[in-house]
Amino acid sequence: MRWLWMFILFLPGLAMAYEAQPLAANPQAEARLKALAVELRCLVCQNQTLADSNAPLAEDLRREVREMIAKDMSDKEIIDFLVTRYGDFVLYRPPWKLTTTLLWLGPFLLLGVGATGLVFALRRRQKKVTDVTLSEAEHTRVEKLLSEGVHRP
């Protein structure tokens, strides 16, 4: 009986642990894949990058990019490969084009509109403040009212 217990006690010792396997044999290629994948959009879950997504298509596209890196293609060639198939939508940074002008300039346009509106509003307010001039009688009345307020319990 005791031998059986000993056997059970040492049984886990037979299960050997290994060092965690690196993701790829070539860490340099993996770093390039990572740098590219954060710039590319997953088409299935559209608000995730290719690096973040677990969708099967994202896995396939990462495999595809990995193979292109292994073939020593440049970043531009790899991105062009994806853009010709999926369109500009795969890029998180859309290129400057006629159709994307509003997208790139829109925020600045809105900022300009807001700033001009603010300037106009402030000017108008300033005018309102300076326009009011008090006569002598009004002045004494204001002082009287203010001093009364102080004395109120």
Binding site: L43, V44, D60, L61, E64, T84, R85, Y86, G87, F89
Partner: protein
């Protein structure tokens, strides 16, 4: 009165944008491949693994390429429409079994019926990537010269078939 006019005007503009935004489908991305040559493929056939189906064999006729899979819910939804097209004989449909298992795909077709002339097997999804597939079902209308003329993302509905796909097919067949 004037004080409220500007915020109200802005409100109307924002509502307008939102109203238009609600009618758009963010999942439907325009394909850059429409108007370009359909990517070539040469793949094993589903029903006869010994045989190969190549896109070059299909030149000279108008055909539909339908990406589907047995695991895909939308494929089930559009299946009756595909069967109807097949029965009418108006245009041949070629299937692309996308990231699927042969036994499952065969069982699926046996159970629901086979609308395809030939089914090609794209198990690793590589041909899918070449065609810019990002979700099944997707269907391509390809003309006699092998150029993609239309891409349907998601299930083909009756109204899309009648209003878009069939008129386009008829026009292309006349060319």
């Amino acid at each position: 009165m004037n004080r409220f006019l500007i915020p109200f005007g802005l409100f109307i503009v924002v509502v307008g944008f939102l109203a238009v935004g609600l009618t758009l489908n963010p999942r439907e991305l325009p394909s850059p491949l429409v108007g370009k040559a359909a990517p070539e493929f040469s793949l094993q056939q589903l029903h006869d693994p010994e045989k190969v189906i190549s896109s070059n064999d299909l030149k000279g006729k108008v055909w539909l390429l339908n990406f589907w899979a047995s695991w895909c819910g939308g494929c089930k939804e559009e299946h009756p429409v595909l069967i109807r097209i097949a029965q009418s004989g108006e245009v041949p449909i070629y299937g692309m079994d996308y990231k699927d298992q042969r036994s499952e795909a065969l069982a699926w077709l046996k159970e629901w019926g086979n609308p395809y002339q030939i089914v090609a097997v794209d198990e690793p999804g590589r041909v899918g990537i070449n065609y810019g597939v990002y979700g099944v079902p997707e269907t391509y209308v390809i003309d006699k010269a092998g150029v993609i003329r239309y891409k349907q993302i998601g299930p083909i509905r009756e109204d899309i078939l009648e209003k878009k796909i069939l008129p386009l097919v008829r026009e292309l067949q006349k060319q």
